[in-house]
Amino acid sequence: MSDIILETRDLTKHYGGVHALEGANFTLRKGEHVAIMGDNGAGKSTFVRQITGVEQRTRGDIVFYGKPVSFAGPLDAREAGIETVFQTLALADHLDVADNLFLGREKIRFKLGPFSILDYRAMRDATLAALEKTGVKIPNIHNTIERMSGGQRQCVAIARTATFHSRLTIMDEPTAALGVQETAQVENIIRTLKEAGEPLILISHNMRQVMDLVDRIVVFRRGRIVANLKKEETDGQDVVAYITGAKTQPEYEGAA
């Protein structure tokens, strides 16, 4: 076993005739923060959905902490230690903040199979602590998600990931709808993860943010990886050239 946390080999997803993801070879090392960039429809979210078991890949291998994995569903991925903020947020609109934070892993007061009794108090306390820690602004945690602004919803989704210790965190455009302060807070959460040595895959269109936060940038274009750039060896313009197709790294030539 090496220090590679996640490795995908030839990871591919076709939706009928749409080749959304084609032969992605990707590695993530211990403690590393990697950004995935690319235009809309480049296959970034598709890549995430294959890793997290939301969808079943067309072909390819995924190796997580040295073991080949094939998650049957998001529950498996989560149990393996992958925490994800999905682009669609995956929140239940009619439930409140605490319910959503603990959805699928509720705190239990009395175990009784599916009819286990919920521990609302413990979940509320933990929610308050999590929101406090992440600095998220939500006036009333008893409000249902449907009554919240887009940014607040995003904050809830991020607080959910940051609350639980994970072996890998994936965030798909976590700051897309956020204001300046909220974005700064999310970036702080990400820095905290870095200090704690928790690895992260960040999908973002925000060049400044990416340059600030991550160690490495992987560029997707039309379903393929076209560049793998160390932050020190690149700059914004260079990355944009890869995104738009003006450049392709030699080792990915022929692929794109």
């Binding site: 998001p74 609109d93 599916p114 009819f115 919920l118 929101l131 939500i138 008893h142």
Partner: protein, 357 residues
């Protein structure tokens, strides 16, 4: 960072100004309808709907009427409890009325007495081995019927991805066929005393209230309830949050089937007979009770308290029509209008929340 009672991040929040529970509106509607009948009663017949007007009875309320109202909605109300959790999960169950029919026929076949007035039971379905069985036998048979029927619904919906409307429509037709085939359309009658005692008098009300309390607690306080709401609210999110949606759906429909079966046991016991046509249209009444009670057909919203209030509204309206001496045909027509009205109201509510977003 400022932190008020619940507010975080310095945003002002007044805990006293919590949003009021939606059941309050349903309760107001119930009161309004009762008042309407009361007023109409005085205007037309110089009689009270709700209050006692007889001198030889010492009571403020007309308990006879109130009891009838509650009694006549209790059995369908039990079905409505199951239907409520199905609709909250974003599904629908059209099969409950037919499950009642089929279960009643089968249950009654295991609840018959050997001798009726000294003669052999003229309606005997099975031989002597099935006569005078302990009351537990028909109860368990009935629960098993509901379990199987509900499980079939759940498995179809969860694993073949057939829309719930179609899957349960299929069972609605098939189970009705089964209940006719069981005895070639003959009624099954003459239960044992023990079985007849199950649904005697106000017993259905007792079961209804007990089950309503139980399922209120289940939906509010257990993981099962939370996941039911989550699936109805956003099925993809529920799945991504790690909920085993398929397995949970099987459970939901199985429980709904078993509640329909409980209704069948009580109903056949109360009527002392089972007929192939038992429970026809009960599924629609149960859905109506839920929707009137604020359960959203789009899923994610509703409660057992709401459904109980919806059932009472249902009962009050039917009883009110009898009180006003209106024809039974009007009752059915108005019932239809109420169902449509409740759904329109639900749509309107949804648009309003959508507009707020």
């Amino acid at each position: 960072m400022a932190n008020t009672a619940h507010g975080i991040g310095g945003l002002k929040y007044d805990p006293k100004k919590r949003t009021k529970p939606p059941e309050l509106n349903v309760f107001m509607a119930l009161v309004l309808i009762i008042v309407t009948f009361e007023v109409l009663g005085w205007l037309i017949y110089r009689d009270s709907f709700l209050f006692n007007t007889r001198d030889n009875v010492d009571a403020i309320f007309n308990w006879a009427r109130i009891n009838i109202i509650i009694l006549q909605v209790s059995i369908i109300g039990i079905i409505a409890i199951g239907v409520t959790q199905v609709i909250i999960s974003g599904g629908i169950d059209l099969s409950s009325g037919s499950i009642v029919g089929a279960t009643a026929m089968i249950v009654m076949s295991f609840a018959q007495t050997e001798l009726v007035n000294g003669n052999p039971n003229p309606k005997a379905v099975f031989g002597a081995w099935a006569m005078d069985l302990p009351v537990l036998v028909p109860i368990l048979v009935g629960l098993a019927c509901g379990l199987i029927a509900g499980c079939v619904n759940g498995l179809l919906i969860a694993y073949t991805r057939i829309p719930p409307f179609i899957a349960t429509l299929g069972l609605m037709v098939s189970a009705r066929g089964l209940s006719k085939w069981w005895t070639n359309g003959q009624p099954v009658s003459f239960p044992t005393e023990g079985f007849a005692a199950l649904g005697k008098g106000m017993m259905p009300v007792v079961y209804f209230i007990a089950l309503a309390i139980l399922f209120h607690l289940i939906l509010r306080q257990t993981v099962y309830g939370k996941h039911t709401y989550a699936i109805g609210s956003n099925e993809d999110a529920a799945r991504m949050s790690g909920i085993n949606v398929a397995r949970h759906k099987v459970l939901i429909y199985t429980i709904a089937g078993m509640l329909a079966a409980i209704a069948a046991i009580i109903l056949s016991s109360k009527n002392l007979t089972a007929q192939a046509g038992m429970g026809v249209m009960y599924e629609l009444d149960a859905i109506a009770m839920s929707v009137i009670g604020g359960v959203s057909l789009a899923g994610g919203r509703g409660s057992i308290i709401g459904t109980v209030l919806g059932a009472l509204i249902f009962g009050v309206i039917i009883s009110g029509f009898t009180f006003l001496k209106l024809d039974a045909y009007y009752q059915e027509m108005v019932k239809g209008a109420i169902i449509v009205g409740a759904v329109v109201l639900d749509q309107w509510r949804q648009r309003r929340t959508a507009a707020r977003m």
